[in-house]
Amino acid sequence: MNSTVVSYLSQSNEFQNIHAWLSKALGFDASSLMAFVIFAIVALIIVGVMATIGGAGTYAERKISADLQARVGPNRVGPFGLLQFLADGVKMILKEDIITTNADKFVFNLAPVMCLVGVFATLAVVPYSSGFILADLNVGIFYLVGMASLVGVGVFLGGYASNSKWSLLGGMRGASQIISYEIPATITIISIVLLAGGLSMKTLIGAQGGGMQDWFILHNPFAFIGFFVYFISALAETNRAPFDLPEAESELVSGYHTEYTGMKFGLFALAEYIEVFVVCGVAVALFLGGYNVPFDLGTGALFSKSLGLDSMLSQNIGQLLQLGAFFTKTLALYYVVIWVRWTLPRLRVDQLMTLCWKYLTPIAIFNLLGCAVWMYAFDGKSIFALIMAATAGGGAHH
């Protein structure tokens, strides 16, 4: 087990004591059992936090849209309407569950669960900090791309199983849009994998640094364009405006979830808001330096050396700084996603396909080749390293 939350916690004395005591009491090596318990607790925490972020996302969306349109927004439930999402959750649970007579009942019930499973499974590899990561899979980003596409299946099945024309149109649009925009997104991710030299999230982030000059977005011009290609594709993959054609409330009633009521609709919404957070997190991890904190504050070595703190304590402070860095960047991107929704009008379906196949995909392929050539020509140095070397003179050539 390498570099997950369990291996991070196992550095502490308490962990070692409990491990020794449990192993003695049970008569076998308890490391797997303890790993399971820690994973379960941390997974519960992450799911709780994500559900809150998803709920707060709906609140933020309404508040920000109100702000952009010079309205007040929700302000009745709790201070500043902060508890609005809890009220919404209660309302959804209390709503009657209607399944239309002609629907395919099994698939109808399966679809929202599928969306939720796909999104929750991606949470395992989202790198919150160098210690607080559930599973640092060696195929990290590949796994994430694969699991995220389960959401597309859920959207399509939801639209198909409803046996309603609006739903079918929305589901078809959703499926074609999600799979189309997966291509530029995946190719852009491949170009970043080229730069980092590995698929695991830790390799991807470890290849970057805390300062902006070490981020992959500023590594070379191709990666810079790549960030925008990825961000646009991610917006489309999560069905966010201006790419919200699958639910297009003004033309398709409510798209693929027209026939869904109560909590099943709520599950779709929850999955969507958490997925937005996940794709923002991935964009941060790939392009914006992930959890890296400037001046190597994240490792905590500075605190133990200069302040004389206990090594575990200073590591924990470092982890908190990393968590802060990751969440600050991700939530900033989250704000941009909401901001875009209330700024840009919706695309037409033919414009959507043109944008994907005639613009983003060729640009993504060009970026991939550009990154490969850059790596080969400049030995993987970033543009800043090259400028530094050029200004430093002959010292760089050795």
Binding site: S164, L267, Y376
Partner: protein, 144 residues
């Protein structure tokens, strides 16, 4: 590192089970307290208040299937590119970057040939004959 350790995938299984629990739990909790008054009108599919005409499971626009076909090709090709991309940096460091670069170029060339072919055939246009039909002028109040 090199040994297969399935413990690493434990959080994945836990999260999937949690997702099922969240979905099932909230639906079960709701089933205890929510009202249940079904009637025939409520259970018909929504079609702007009219009674639905026919089923929605009918023949559908072929465009979506063409998109899906193109997607399959590109998705498989990009999946095949991940391993090459992952080892590129290491190969570059030991001086074999040129070999990999050429193989990436060859591979992407085939990919580009595919997209150019689809483009020329008009499969990337949403409405295939869109550019071939002359734009029609609106002719209000005219006889033709």
């Amino acid at each position: 590192m090199s040994t297969l350790n399935l413990d690493v995938y434990m959080p994945v299984v836990i999260l999937i089970v949690l997702a099922l629990l969240v979905a099932g739990g909230s639906l079960f909790l709701g089933s205890l307290i929510r009202p249940q008054h079904p009637n025939k009108l409520k259970e018909t599919a929504y079609e702007c208040g009219e009674e639905p005409i026919g089923t929605a499971w009918a023949n559908f626009n072929i465009r979506f299937y063409v998109i899906a076909l193109i997607f399959i090709i590109f998705d498989v090709e990009s999946a095949l590119m991940f391993p090459v991309a992952a080892v590129f940096k290491r190969f570059n460091e030991i001086g074999l970057g040129g070999t990999l670069l050429m193989s990436i170029f060859t591979f992407v060339l085939i990919l580009v040939a595919g997209i150019v072919y689809c483009w020329k055939k008009g499969d990337l246009d949403w409405v295939k004959s869109f550019n071939q039909v002359a734009p029609t002028q609106p002719s209000f109040g005219k006889k033709d």
